[in-house]
Amino acid sequence: MRLRKASLPYLLLLPGLGWLLLFFLLPLIYMALESLKTGTIDTGFRLTWEFSNYTNALSDYSEQFVRSFEYAGLATLIAFLIGYPLAYVIAFRGGKWRNAMLLLVIVPFFVTYLIRTLSWETILSDSGIVVSTLKSLGILSEDGRLLDTTVSVVAGITYNFLPFMILPLYASLERIDPRLLEAGYDLYGRRRDVFFRVTLPLSMPGVVAGGLLTFIPAAGDFINAQLLGTPKQFMIGNVIQSRYLVVADYPTAAALSFLLMAFMLIIVVIWARIAGTEALLGTEGERA
């Protein structure tokens, strides 16, 4: 009986964890082997421990790598600048409208990702209202466009991942005890002081989580660059997708995937150092 009890958690874990081991971890091992092969789709690929696949992939596609992180960083920053004030207003001034406003924040998720990206194609198109307004204001030159530029791709990425930024920000702001802010004011803190010394530091877990949740999918995205950009805006995701599915150059694509994952892990680890792993894994409050 005691033995059965001790094995119970493992039995409960087995199906879910087994699935992840078999279809998440094992595939990574297959991909690792794939990345060290040589050959072509016609002659077949052979495992030759070709580590130069990595250096070649990195030097051939460094441009797309850099661009991915630039776009993702920019999108994360803009999402923060848009999202923080909104999350602040919902958390501290939402009142009875709080839940309704939160619902509006996640409304974009109710429309298929690809279609909301296509919608941006409509909004930013050459004959659309945004372009014509900017032209009449003289901000955009007569033959200027927004579609197929960096602007449209970054705008699309920012839009698509904005709720991932707002929700964690809201969660951490909402948790702040308003009495702490009152104490700040009672001690003659000006608004600015109270915000920068109390509110912002206390909301840091949300900033860190939101940043991560926005940055990771943004850096790996290829849909926005494909639909709203041109090959000049292509990111590393576009390269991986076409190397795998169009060119069938599996070793390069696999090496690129691992490089992307490695860069991400480095960023997550740095982030975790700042935030603490508990906040990141969401395991705080569990029994030790």
Partner: protein
């Protein structure tokens, strides 16, 4: 002076938040409006004239109905599997102390921190090496359960953490078997978490393009259909279907919120106050 400045700032902040909400909603409004358009070209980008044609025949685009059916079927099946497996995993992680719990917690987090394109590519590598199953319905299903699992586990786990174990002990003191306790006490109490996990899984599955794109073979889901169509033509029908999915989701969302409110109200008539509850027993 400062009062006026403060009020001015308040107003500005609210206006800024309003603009942010406008930005979030604008593309959705465009989709709904353009579903009533009668475009002159193959692409539904320029407003021509109001028309109900697309709404009268929403599935008139060849292939779209099959794609939708595939999407719904995959979402339903993968949701059931991922929710069942994920709930069991979450139970093990919160309720039991065992060797290797924190590595497992970390391992579950990794798929969430992995770019989708990597998840899709890795799984494809494995299927290509195995040579089976043939890329198609089964491989999409496997992929969807895989990426949904971590989301379900984390959602259910967060619900379990605030769980009052004395209720289960009470059931067992009253002679309930472990299975009866689970079915009659534990499961109803964690149900809101399980339902949220399932809804999340369904939404993620029906929306997924990237991972499906790698593992679909010749099977077409709704997002894959749009991807293919986007290069050739975007009919207003696609916007009609998007609007329909949108409306159904909003309705489901409101129904869930309403149901959970009701459940909370019913739970609040419980005689025991949280303050009176004894310290949670340690296993």
């Amino acid at each position: 002076m400062t009062a006026i400045r403060r009020r001015g700032f308040d107003w500005l902040l609210n206006a800024y938040a309003g603009l942010a909400l406008f930005y979030l909603l604008l593309p959705i409004a465009v989709i709904i409006v353009f579903s009533f358009n009668k475009p002159a070209s193959r692409f539904n980008f320029i407003w021509e004239q109001f028309s109900l044609d697309a709404w009268k025949h929403p599935f008139a685009v060849p292939g779209v109905q099959d794609a939708l059916e595939n999407s719904l079927e995959i979402a339903a099946v993968s949701t059931v599997i991922a929710t069942a497996l994920g709930t069991l995993t979450a139970l093990a992680l919160v309720r039991y102390e065992f060797k290797g719990r924190s590595p497992v917690n970390f391992f579950i987090f990794i798929p969430l921190a992995t770019p989708e394109v990597v998840l899709g590519a890795a799984l494809l590598s494995q299927f290509l090496n195995w040579g089976s199953p043939k890329l198609g319905f089964a491989t999409i299903l496997i992929a969807h359960v895989m990426f949904n699992l971590s989301f379900v586990i984390i959602t259910v786990r967060s619900r379990l953490i605030g769980f009052d174990r004395s209720l289960e002990e009470a059931a067992q003191d009253l002679g309930a078997t472990p299975w009866q306790t689970f079915r009659l006490v534990t499961l109803p109490l964690i149900m809101p978490g399980v339902v949220s996990g399932a809804l999340l899984a369904f939404a993620l599955s029906i929306d997924d393009f990237v991972i499906t794109n790698f593992n679909s073979g010749s099977t077409i889901t709704f997002p894959l259909f749009i991807w293919g169509a986007a290069r050739v033509a975007i009919q207003p029908q696609i916007y009609v279907i998007a609007t329909m999915i949108f409306l159904v989701t909003v309705a489901a969302m409101i129904a869930t919120v309403w149901q959970q409110r009701r459940a909370e109200r019913m739970a609040s008539v419980r005689p025991d106050e949280p303050e009176l509850a004894l310290e949670p027993a340690r296993a």
